[in-house]
Every structure is written in C-alpha cells, then in structure tokens.
Amino acid sequence: MASRVRTATPVVVPPLPPQARRTKLWQYLLVLAILGITAACLLTLGNVSWERILSGLERNLPPLWRGLTNPDAAIFSRAFAAMMETMYMAVIGTVIAGVLAVPVAFISAANLVGGNRFALPGRGLLAAIRVFPELLFAIIFVAAVGPGAVAGIMALGINSVGFLGKMFSDIIESIDPGPGEALRATGAGPIHTFSYAVVPQVLPEFASNVLYRFEINLRAASILGLVGAGGIGGLLIQRIQFRRWEEIAMILLVIIAFIVIVDVISSSIRRRLV
C-alpha cells in the first residue's frame, strides 16, 4: 500500500463542441423535469397516513415473518389444485386467443389486404383491446356471465387476442415474398401458395408468441380469482382477508414454483423454435 505512488497529473479536458453542449443542456433539462415531476408526485400523493402504515408494519411484520418462514403444509393440496385450475384456465384462454387471433391477424396485415388503409380497422380493434388489462375484462365477464372459471378463461382469451393478433400480423407483414412468387410462377393456386409459402414462414414465430403469451396468461390467471373469475387468486384473497400468513406463504410458494417451472420449460422450447 505504502509503495503506491500517486502522482497528480494535471488533467486538461478540452471544451465540448457546441452540439454536445446542446445535448448536455437537454440532459440537464430532462433530469430536472424528472425530478420536478417526482417532487410534485411525492408532495401531492394523498391518503398516505404514515401512522397507519407504521402501526400496520408493527402489527403485521412479525406474524408475516413467522408465516413466511414456516409455510402451512396443510393447505398445500388445496393450493396445488387451485393452481392446476389456474393453469387449465391459462391453457384454454391461450388456445382460444391463438385460434381467434389468426383470422384477425390476416385482415390486419397490410401486405395481405392490400395496403395500410385496409388493415386499419383490424389494427384499431386490436389496439383498443390492448388498452385494458385482463382484470378489467374479467370484471365485466364476471358481471355478465357470473363468477367462475368461464369468466376468467374468456377474459384471458379476449385480452390475449389483442396481443397475439398484433404480433401475428407483424410477423405476417415481415415475411419474405420470394417463396410465394416462386410458387405462383410454377402455377400454384392461392391455397398452395398460402400453405407452402406463408404458413411455413410464420408458424414457428406464431408458436413462439403463443407460448410466450401462455407464460403471461398463467401469471394473469393467478390474479383473476381476486375478482371471482376462478383460479388460485380467490383462495389467496380469502386468506389475505384473514391474514393467515402461514397459508398465504404456502399459496405464494405454490404460485412461484409453478410459474418458474412453466417459464423454464416454455422458454427452452421457444429458444428451439426460433
């Protein structure tokens, strides 16, 4: 340590060119704007009563810690069954979305319908669906058809059409026109052109997106029970209301384990697909 010699060399920093100085100014302004908005948010955020929060922490942290460190094994079988139902909902919802998204995607792909103008209605519909989170769909479905897995499945299905339809039509728009032209040049009709030039090009990417959506839907399905749309969320919210932390811990563990395992399997398949 002592042998290390530090020599103070005078550092000459050349002045910034005017363009970089302008970028610097923008950066300062950006940081200032972010800080300003944040300060405004913090100052005006209402309803935060710190005494209530502190007393809540005081009351709930010790039982929470006790609960999370020894999860209740007795509720495992119920949690597991509920999680299986959650997965079934995600499977059906994803399949429904995958099937419904295909026709919508074809009428939203500019290169197939002959121009951006004609793709607009389909694209608009898909964008409108994507605005709302699946929970909103679930709330309306529960109100319309009553509580249960059907409402959850349909909410997942319809919401996912918005995402899969968009991904699918983007994929269709990016296909290579070469194989199609080659097939048409050899005299193939529209059905053959479609099934030998379009389908092979888009299928792996479609499949990859469906799998990805399934991962998302599994997460989404585990919350739909909060509004009565089936799955493990219903069990969880009930235990949360009674603050049964040992049981909550076990339910959360089941959710985490399921989702992590499904993610690992699904992403390894996706890596091989594309």
Binding site: N47, N60, V131, L136, I139, A149, I158, I240, R243
Partner: protein
C-alpha cells in the same frame, strides 16, 4: 387437396417431434376442458353475454362520474410514475449484477438472477393484495407493488441488453486499471443507455395500465372507484371510467412512442 408427390418431406425426427408436440398440446387442452367444465357453447354464449352487457353502460353518467374520477386518476399516474422511478433506481444495480459481463462475482450473478426470477413470477396485483394487508389501504402499497415489478423486469430484460454490448470498451477500461464500478459506468452504461431508457419508458406504459386496476384490491388509484362501482352496479359510471382510462392510456402511449422513436 391432392399434393404432388414431388413435394419434399421433412426428415423423420422433426416430423415425429412436431406430431408429439401437437399431441401434448391437444392432451393438455382436453384435460383442461374436462377439469374446468368449459364447453365451446360456453365460449359463444359468454361472448354474446359480454357484448350484450355493454348495453348496461349506456348512457354514460358523465355528470356524476367525472368529478369523482379525476383525483384517483391523478393518483394512478402518480403511482405509476413513482413506482417506475423507484424500481429503476433500485433495479439498476441488480441489472448489472445479473449480467455475465459486468457482474462482480459469479455467485452474486447467480443469486441476483434467481432472486429476480422469483420476484418476477408474482404478478403485481398479488403483491398489491398482500401489501395492502401489511401497509393498509392507500397508494403506498400500489407504489411498492409497481416498484417490485419494475425492478424485477428491468433486471431481467435489461441484463439481456447489457450482455449484448461490445466487450471492447470494457476490456480497455479493465486494462487501464479501472475499478468494477468504473467499468460499468464508463464501459457499459453509455452503450446501453439509449435502449435501456427506451425500455424504461415502455415499462412505464405497462405500469400505467397496471396501476389502473391496483386499486381494486385497495392499493390506491382509479381501481378503487372501479371496485365501488362494480359493487354498487353503477355500470353507467363504469362506462365513463373505462373511457377515461382508454383516453389516458392512449395519450401516454403516444407520448412514450414519440419519445422512444426519437431515442433510437
């Protein structure tokens, strides 16, 4: 359709694999349909009910709903903003710890990746539901839930950006004797700043959508009103709420798309 015999066949193994894949999917679907008692007529029936249900939304009750909506709406945006910001601040170290080329130690990388995977597997609404039980009602559990979500998703996808950077500057800095932090700040950050910022803005969009429903479990924002309107069957006010959410989300998405297009 009769295929001409000249059409080349796929080799046997991929064909078998694709058949077994379809079989697995079909099997999973059949089990799912049986276990949930879901029938195809359910699908059409509930879809029709869903569409018909929109009749209840008419006419939207602007006079009574709008004055109630605007404050929770601002709170929703505040939650999304603060949650995104805190998530980014807390998530940035994890992001570099999770990346192979910038992690100071393999054990730390493994720990950070595992922790982020576990945290990411819980949806933000579940965090909010649990946090409401601990921190009581209000926007704070919502902010914390969004923070956790942002932090874990930023670490995961951000580390993919970091791992894809050009190793040259990092090696040069290491060769010049820079410390670990200096390597990250001067070697990695300038290369990923633009794409990370674009990604953070995208996360903000996602968080705005998410924060509109967090209130449903008591975590503040406009979702709290949604819960009340649903409980009281005030569908004409829900219509206003949905339209307001629609407009706000579209505006935020447009702004963010504009900024992101200029960034890259």
């Amino acid at each position: 359709m009769a295929l001409p015999s000249a059409v080349p066949q796929l080799p046997l193994l991929p064909r078998l694999l694709s058949w077994s894949t379809w079989a697995v999917i079909a099997g999973l679907l059949i089990i799912s349909l049986r276990e949930t008692n879901f029938r195809i007529d359910d699908m059409w029936g509930s879809l029709v009910d869903f569409v018909l249900f929109f009749g209840n939304f008419w006419p939207p009750d602007w006079q009574r709903a709008l004055p109630q909506i605007w404050r929770p709406l601002i709170e929703t945006l505040q939650m999304a903003w603060l949650g995104t910001l805190f998530g980014v601040l807390l998530g940035t170290p994890w992001l570099f710890w999770s990346s192979r080329n910038t992690s100071p130690h393999p054990v730390l990388m493994w720990f950070s990746r595992t922790l982020m995977t576990v945290m990411r597997s819980i949806p933000d609404l579940l965090y909010a539901a649990v946090l409401v039980a601990i921190l009581s009602f209000g926007p704070l559990p919502g902010v914390v839930a969004i923070t956790i979500f942002t932090l874990s998703i930023l670490a995961k996808l951000g580390s993919e950006y970091v791992e894809a950077i050009d190793p040259g500057p990092i090696e040069a800095l290491k060769a010049a004797g820079a410390s670990g932090t200096q390597v990250i700040v001067y070697g990695a950050v300038p290369q990923v700043a633009a794409s990370l910022l674009s990604y953070i803005i995208y996360i903000f969009e996602v968080n705005v959508r998410a924060s509109t429903v967090l209130g449903f479990v008591g975590a503040g924002g406009i979702g709290f009103l949604l819960n009340r309107y649903v409980a009281l069957f005030q569908y004409q006010r829900i219509a206003v709420l949905l339209m307001v959410i629609f407009v706000v989300v579209i505006i935020i998405d447009s702004i963010s798309a504009y900024i992101r297009a200029r960034l890259t």
